[in-house]
């Protein structure tokens, strides 16, 4: 089973369970709201590629409104939201959300080669990734 299937199955289970679980329903709605509010700034990714890179061979773990993929050494967690269809990559050794290459995204380098700190909102935008639908380019 690939990560996309694990994620999609997990979303279906969460949505089914949320019919009788108000708390879970609120978590799912929270993810949907976050996506609706911010997704315009999010890069689109294939969840299979991300999980293969950071947590290869992992199984999805349901955790409230999230589905998590943990690397074998516990260094990385790929956290996928069930309501919002997005994911984040967390480095458990630095306690930071990171980019698609595991890089720290707090700073960026401008066209003149000068380094700057990213604002709070920019950092949050670049550490959220919209999950592509299967077959989406």
């Amino acid at each position: 089973m690939d990560a996309k299937t694990g994620y999609s199955d997990g979303v279906a289970v969460s949505k089914r369970n949320s019919e009788a679980n108000t708390k879970l329903r609120e978590k799912i709605q929270g993810g949907e709201t976050r996506k609706e509010t911010y997704q315009g700034n999010w890069q689109r990714v294939d969840i299979n590629d991300v999980v293969e890179r950071f947590a290869p061979g992992s199984s999805p773990v349901q955790n409230k409104g999230k589905i998590e993929f943990w690397s074998m050494d516990r260094k990385y967690t790929v956290v996928a939201d069930t309501g919002g269809g997005y994911l984040r990559i967390y480095d458990n050794t630095t306690n930071q959300y990171v980019g698609l290459n595991g890089e720290d995204l707090h700073n960026y380098t401008d066209e003149r080669g000068k380094q700057h700190g990213r604002s709070k909102s920019d950092f949050r935008a670049v550490t959220h990734f919209k999950i592509k639908k299967r077959g989406e380019k």
């Binding site: 708390k23 707090h106 700073n107 990213r118 604002s119």
Partner: protein, 124 residues
């Protein structure tokens, strides 16, 4: 009860925040207040204080996300927290609301903000 914690960070130095070059520098000198999972769940779902913050300040306080009550909203957040704190009765509930009140009072004293930071549960 789980020992897992949810974090509330408050910068100690408003001047440092004003002069910061970006988010990392803003958060480089903070006081951290920790909520257990049980306390977080109480404030989020039972007490509804966090839902009141969400509604008032356009936040979505939840796991694996960061959200901020900005400095200009701290007084209003304290008013809300004091109102919802009246619902607390058990030791756990009182502990939960008192931690939020302590974090907000510290932010008010320092002239800074409160950031919720809820990382993945390390127990997986």
């Amino acid at each position: 009860m789980s020992g897992f914690v949810y974090l509330m960070h408050v910068p100690r130095d408003a001047e440092q925040v004003r002069n910061a070059d970006g988010y990392a520098e803003e958060m480089s000198n903070v006081e951290t207040f920790e909520l257990t999972q049980e306390e977080f769940d109480y404030l989020d779902f039972t007490n509804r204080m966090f839902k009141a913050f969400d509604k008032e300040f356009n936040l979505i306080i939840m796991e694996c996300e960061e959200d901020t009550i900005e400095a200009e909203d701290i007084d209003k957040a304290l008013d809300i927290a004091l109102e919802y704190a009246k619902k607390a009765s058990s030791a756990m509930e009182l502990s939960a609301v008192n931690k939020v009140l302590a974090a907000l009072r510290f932010a008010k004293e320092r002239g800074t903000f409160l950031e919720f930071d809820n990382p993945p549960n390390p127990k997986g």
